[in-house]
Amino acid sequence: MQYEDRAPEDNLNTPDHHPVREFLKLAVMAAVAVVVLGIILNFAGSRLGALLPFKAELWITERVHKAAIETGQQSPFEQKIVQAELQQYLQSVADKVAVALEVDTSMPVTLHYSSENVINAFATLGGHVYFFKGLLDLLPHENALAMLIAHEYSHVTLRHPAKGLGGGLALAIGTSAVGLGSENQLFSLGSRITSSSFSRSMETEADRSALVAVNAIYGHVGGAAALFELFMQQRQGGSSGQFENFVSTHPLDQQRIAQIDRVARDNRWSVSGQLTPLPDGFQQWLRVQ
């Protein structure tokens, strides 16, 4: 018997393959799948989240608070406003906002203050609203402060934290269930884009609601845009481009300012009027905390 060994023919087990073309095709398919999946999950999750009674939000935050204390950590819900004048003043503006927004008494809102130099404020589960010194320090007048407080109150009344929780959970459970964990960068970017667009629509909704309150309190919406002008100034020098808008959780500041004008025009509200100054010593109070 004759034994022979021939070198294998080329491309027999590795036919022509264009890796980059295959990658691009798959990446587009995956991006579309993730965005569609993300939209469905986020939508369904936030709908479910909105069904969560406010009492459940209070229960969750209470549990987090207790767990933090039991493990010797600082509870995020412990941060109270220590400075008495600051507490009284913020609460007085918040009370006016609550009346204007007709906030239900079953939905108590708790104000928190952090002396960190962060330009931010946010509302979270259980009606807990946080203000940072960095942002309050920059506010030019009470109207801008009222806009800020009303914006955060609106998140609470519109149940945005619960919707966000529902949407985020549904997205996390859904993506891990189909095996698209966060380790996959493309999927993580896709889900970020989807959830960002949801957050942005919530921000726009909160802005609209806040304007109603500002107009009810002052009889005009003048000064409300100052908040976003301030953000814009702070961002200048940064990269507030198209891509940032795409993945950012908040709409671009220019868009928010334009929205104020649009909403005011549609409702025939005045965009200018007497601006109420912040009380003397406001900046001092911020430093005492």
Partner: protein, 146 residues
């Protein structure tokens, strides 16, 4: 943004170095395969009859790693299904390299044929796919060459 940039750099590096390594490896494989055609490796379990040989186990083993690009594309295919074309050259290279090493082992012992050749593949390590391909067979060494 930073995360995305790191991901893009890894992908590009994986693609660049992966392709370079693959091309270089194939060039070397093809050259050595030509040199080794004189030593047949046969899958048959039955050695030639009527001749006397010394029999020895010979093995050729190689460990090949995928690159970031290939693994990422493979992960995407895992979602939609289909052939993982990016891994096919990886396994092909592994098998051919293992066979070349087996033949080298047989040749160095004076064998003129290897019988009962089999392959085994296993995945080793976590993270980026790394495979070991093992080829083993029975080298037949003519008695006079002893």
């Amino acid at each position: 943004m930073t995360q995305l940039a790191i991901f893009a750099v890894l992908l590009l590096l994986g693609y660049g170095f992966g392709q370079l390594a693959e091309r270089r490896h194939y060039r070397s494989i093809k050259k050595r395969e030509q040199e080794m055609t004189a030593l047949p490796a046969i899958a048959s379990r039955h050695p030639p009859s009527g001749e006397y040989y010394q029999q020895r186990l010979v093995i050729g083993s190689v460990v090949v790693a995928s690159d970031y690009f290939k693994s990422f594309v493979a992960n995407l295919v895992n979602v939609f299904g289909g052939r993982i074309k990016s891994y096919e050259p990886l396994l092909d290279r592994g098998r051919r390299e293992a066979m070349l090493r087996l033949k080298q082992a047989a040749k160095s012992q004076g064998a003129n044929i290897v019988f009962n050749v089999k392959y085994e593949t296993s995945r080793i390590g976590g993270g980026i796919t790394t495979i070991e391909v093992l080829a083993y067979g029975t080298a037949l060494i003519p008695l006079e060459s002893e």
